[in-house]
Symmetry: C2
């Protein structure tokens, strides 16, 4: 990231810090345990890549926006929406860690087991607490934008973008839940659509559109921007799916066994299911105690059947399409957004 | 309920119906399964007592409000907040039924078991889906109020009341989760405070205050109204706790074994824990397979140790205090609100 980008991030962090400071003061009046929950929630907003804020600010700058405070509030609202969605997604996936450390569920589970509570009860306590924490983050993502002091029509347009983003993400999460219990492996197209709804709309399309709308961009640019976000989102997601199986755990902070053990319906898996290699792969996918050695065999098969190459090529094609779309946007916008395309293909985390 | 009250409910139901019709149209564009989720969510807003809307409308009418449409939107926002909170509360309590039928988790669990999915997976699918549904209801409770077309300062005041209500409810839910895993039984005072935060603030205090604010009530009345709501909330909650153990299942639509099996920290239990009868009661509380015969023994002990009488008296005292507070409010307000006090003591469901 360039220094200029880093400088842009500061206001977002300040907005979040101020928001959490106020919330913690309110929570402390109710009690120490509630203060603890808000502190855990704040921690779970830290350590991320601030990807959504960066896209909001890039689109905003590209379209000539000049109010850093308004942009920072909008960017912070997207970061808080992201926090809400990952906290609840972790409950749905029964994950107790994120970015190499315990997440909200994990902290509350670990506190309980330390106090001698049996593991199943402690896990349920962790998940229950994370449901509550996610609700607070979700509600306040909206509230943060609502209180940004914007004029009525602009505020409503931005809230509608946030609304559309949550609407899509909930649909994608629902489809993902159903994929996880279905016997059949979904098609590549269905996985692309699920991942777009669940993650890419709120991560790429919505932040870009929101930044542009806040900057007063000509409405004619918005569909192109949405297409750019869509293409970029598919590229990132395809690479994410690869990193989840072939990544370097030290760099991603994420086990490369998790997706395989969980039987997650990713792009390489959906592709592999269409090949002759599938009968040899299927038995390992979703095996909860898959060993490192077994995972290595699965990886070898995913490479030899072409699933790895297919997914990498899919990412490259969508990234290339994203770059071409930038030619249809003002040059200042293209300059701001092009730095996001390369990393979609050359990522280690 | 009087006919006049029933007539008042119509606009709230119309607002909710219109909201769900629009949401379902949007959802259908994404797919049939998403339409199904919205349909399940809509169903879970039906069959309730519309308690929060009725309080909003009573306070609004008492303070001379004259805009039925604005009041109906505000009332509907509280009903949707209630839906969100009970849908997530059911996940936390691992309940799959409500009001005698399957709730959101229950429907999605049952569909999965019917399709041959093993029960634990089906249950997790039900709970995951309910997390998603609750998120949508929560976000849109806010959105419904936000789009009500009110002037800026009024909208902000009402959103702040909704914000305070969720803030309190999350705190109460957190305390309740911790009560459920703690070995010691909390004090009566701690149970009263937990129940107030978790349920009474968003059910009584906030709807009354919001109705009054929307009607343009003199700010001097608001603290008295809050006190009234607080007292009334404790009275209802105490009676709820009694109905959960001593109620008529046909009338409440709720098993009288559930709270005992779950080991729920209710007012009669908190009182009983301070008496000599507790060692004889404690062993049954939280026994997951408690039989009808064992429950009868527990009931007899709760009666003989005075826990039933204590809880009933607590309800009566708070209801009486609520009535006295009405003398400090305008007579039109007292006329609207007094009908809510009697039922706190004479309830069958």
């Amino acid at each position: 990231m360039k220094q200029a980008d880093l400088d842009e991030l500061v206001p977002v962090d300040l907005v979040l810090e101020r928001f959490f400071r106020q919330a913690k003061t309110r929570a402390e009046r109710i009690g120490a345990s509630y203060l603890g929950l808000w502190t855990a929630l704040e921690s779970s907003t830290r350590g991320g890549k601030r990807f959504r804020p960066r896209l909001v600010l890039a689109a905003y700058a590209g379209f000539g926006g000049r109010d850093p405070s308004a942009a920072a509030h909008l960017a912070a609202a997207f970061e808080l929406l992201h926090t809400a969605l990952i906290v609840h997604d972790d409950v749905i996936d029964r994950d107790f860690t994120r970015r190499g450390g315990p997440n909200v569920s994990g902290r509350y589970r670990d506190d309980a087991t330390t106090a001698g509570i049996p593991v199943p009860t402690a896990e349920h306590r962790g998940m229950s607490t994370a449901i509550i924490a996610g609700d607070l983050a979700l509600f306040h993502s909206y509230r943060l934008l609502d209180r940004s002091g914007l004029a009525d029509d602009l505020r409503e347009a931005l809230l509608q973008i946030l609304d559309d983003a949550l609407f899509a993400s909930a649909a994608g999460e629902l489809i993902d839940v159903d994929f996880s219990i279905a016997r059949d492996v979904p098609s590549v197209e269905d996985v692309v659509e699920m991942e777009r709804l669940k993650t890419a709309v709120y991560t790429f399309e919505a932040p870009l559109q929101a930044g542009a709308v806040l900057a007063g961009a000509d409405a004619a640019h918005l569909p192109v921007l949405a297409q750019f976000g869509r293409r970029l989102g598919i590229a990132y997601q395809a690479m994410d799916d690869l990193l989840g199986v072939f990544g370097n755990e030290q760099e991603t902070g994420k086990s490369t066994l998790g997706d395989l053990r969980e039987g997650k319906r990713t792009l390489p898996i959906a592709f592999a299911a269409t090949t002759d290699a599938w009968p040899g792969i299927a038995a390992w996918i979703g095996k909860p105690d898959l060993t490192d050695g077994e995972a290595d065999q699965v990886r070898a098969l995913l490479l030899s059947c072409g699933a790895e190459a297919f997914t990498r090529r899919l990412a490259a094609e969508h990234a290339a399409a994203a770059l071409r779309l930038l030619d249809r946007l003002p040059v200042e916008v293209a300059q701001e957004l092009s730095p996001f395309v390369g990393p979609a293909l050359d990522r280690s985390r």
